[in-house]
């Protein structure tokens, strides 16, 4: 990571914000294909992403940076036409959110690092619920894992 600590923080916060904005948009699509308790879960997760977005925006503003606005629309990783595809999209979005927050965990700022770790946990919990199973390393790309001899 290059740049001053404050620039690094702003860059990581903007990346997390972008992931949250994309997730908020994605959950709007997800909710349209769900009913009953699954819809209620998607709505709760959408609210969680909205709140997290607000926190990130405030944090950026407190650092004198302008939060990058959300896009009008986002390219989805795959078409969503069924409940199963909606759940699959939620899994992908939560993994992306977790990965973005790991950028905050890499910062030296303790409060941002803690915020990042808590949000990685929150995204992992939501992702596991949509996936129906747990994973060993939420948010971490395979390239970040040490190869064992």
């Amino acid at each position: 990571m290059t740049g001053s600590p404050s620039r690094q923080a702003v860059r990581a916060l903007q990346a997390a914000l972008a992931a949250e904005e994309a997730a908020s948009y994605g959950y709007g699509v997800i909710g349209a294909h769900l009913t009953g308790s699954a819809l209620a879960d998607a709505t709760a997760d959408w609210v969680a992403h909205q709140r997290a977005r607000d926190v990130l925006q405030l944090s950026l503003q407190a650092r004198g940076a302008a939060p990058v606005p959300a896009a009008v629309a986002y390219q989805l990783p795959h078409p969503v036409g069924t409940a199963a595809e909606a759940s699959s999209l939620a899994v992908i979005l939560e993994e992306r959110v977790a990965r973005a927050y790991l950028g905050l965990v890499a910062l030296t700022d303790q409060s941002l690092r803690q915020l990042g770790a808590l949000q990685v946990r929150a995204a992992a919990l939501r992702g596991a619920a949509w996936r129906g199973r747990t994973v060993a390393f939420p948010g971490l790309p395979p390239s970040a894992l040490a190869r064992r001899s």
């Binding site: 770790a117 390393f137 040490a146 064992r148």
Partner: protein
């Protein structure tokens, strides 16, 4: 073999002896942190292994899946210790108690676990939460890459909690 052994002191003398190297460097602060994380993970693995040996309560497939993830956590943590050093894998079992939670106690060879199925799942859920919280605290003092690994492992362990709570009939 013998010749080689006899030549060793001469070789060392020629190199002005090991004293010339001075005192070994102190382990970096994150080595202690890593050892604590490994010790906590070893304890979780031991708990699941004990649970799989004895209990019929929690579906075996659930325990096996969660155990596998703990073994993966342990593998990644151990891979970050330099092989052959005094801090290498295995030495972590003797690590000092890293914190106050149940999950942070030094691992015992065979942890005692509840026999009754519902209690076992509740017990494991509590230990998973404690282990997750422990890593969440520890990562604040870790270098960036290790902090990211600990955050991911902490998150993974947090996801084990609802799985076990369901198995315990609490959700």
């Amino acid at each position: 073999m013998l010749a080689g052994a006899a030549a060793l002191p001469l070789f060392l003398a020629g190199c002005k002896g090991l004293q010339a190297l001075g005192t070994p460097p102190r382990p970096a602060p994150d080595v202690g942190l890593l050892k604590g994380a490994i010790a906590a993970e070893e304890l979780m693995v031991a708990r699941y292994q004990a649970a799989l040996r004895g209990a019929q309560v929690v579906p075996e497939v659930t325990l096996s899946a969660l155990l596998l993830e703990h073994q993966q956590h342990l593998g990644q943590l151990r891979a970050r210790l330099i092989a052959g050093s005094p801090q290498a894998a295995g030495a972590a079992s003797a690590a000092a108690s890293p914190g106050g939670s149940a999950a942070s106690r030094s691992p015992a060879p065979g942890p005692s676990i509840p026999a009754e199925p519902g209690q076992l799942a509740s017990y494991l859920a509590g230990e998973e939460q404690a282990a997750s919280d422990y890593l969440l605290r520890e990562l604040l003092a870790a270098p960036p890459a290790l902090a990211q690994l600990l955050a991911s492992i902490s998150a993974s362990e947090a996801t084990h909690v609802p799985v076990l709570q369901v198995a315990a009939g609490h959700r």
